[in-house]
Symmetry: C2
Subunit: 135 residues, 2 copies
DNA sequence: ATAATTGCAAATGCTTTGCTTGTGA
DNA sequence: TCACAAGCAAAGCATTTGCAATTAT
């Protein structure tokens, strides 16, 4: 039983075979798969699982705080396991590769900007799009 | 002839009535309208303009660097006149209001982060989502 | 004149949903 | 058992596109 499954049973989320599969695939994922990719990986194990179920499961997991959804500039939503500590993303515009990074300084500045404008920050989105520097 | 129209004729973009209307509405806009809102404002002047044309025009203007497209967390794309100097946005999650801000420090840090990861920054996205602080 | 642009409606791509059947606790 | 979940196909939404008719230069 992986950690996602543990969280599910704790939260009283019914553990079906297909949810276990999505949980497993998300646990193993080292990238940021979209629903289609997720579905591909899941159906490699059980070909009967439908995309609709993957969509529903992914939404369920997201609402449970188990995974995170990202809408990068690609049209389709991409997912990753909810990380212990927040990070942001740099997207390689050529390869599509996604690199995670943490920068406390930027985080602080964002809070300050919001405060200065009279707002409490409830969410934010920071994405860098770049090209590899060849050396 | 407004400044968008000037840029168009300079760039050899054919100036049709509907494009003039979109240009006018965008020039007057003090907010960040989506295509539907744009269409509403345009058809208030000429009811025969179709949404398809607004979509096409908005894409044309964007590619010409005349306006900017933003995909906030709202489902639909929103537009603003391309600003002289870059700015980012804070979105009031309750009212939907959009506040523009500039923060050089954050900009610099983003460059640094990218560089440190071996990337040249070609684009970025910084959005703050917040709630008004009542005082 | 004529190549580009429009309007319309049909098509797209991602995502959601209604409904019937299947199933986990 | 039985409320909830899955599968399927249809529906939704924002956006794009093919095509015949119209228009700017």
């Amino acid at each position: 039983m992986n950690s996602i499954e543990k969280i599910c049973s704790q939260k009283g989320v019914r553990l079906t075979d297909q949810r276990k599969l999505v949980a497993e695939v998300m646990s193993d994922a080292k990238d940021h798969p979209d629903v289609d990719e997720l579905h591909k990986r899941v159906t490699k194990i059980d070909p009967k699982v439908s995309v609709a179920t993957v969509y529903r499961t992914v939404k369920l997991f997201e609402e449970a705080g188990i995974i995170e959804k990202h809408d990068f500039k690609s049209g389709k939503a991409r997912y990753e396991r909810a990380p212990e500590e927040h990070h942001d993303h740099l997207i390689d515009v050529n390869s599509g590769e996604i690199i995670e990074f943490v920068n406390e300084e930027i985080e602080k500045l964002q809070e300050n900007v919001a405060k200065k404008l009279g707002y409490k920050l409830v969410d934010h989105r920071l994405e860098l799009y770049g090209t590899k520097i060849k050396k």
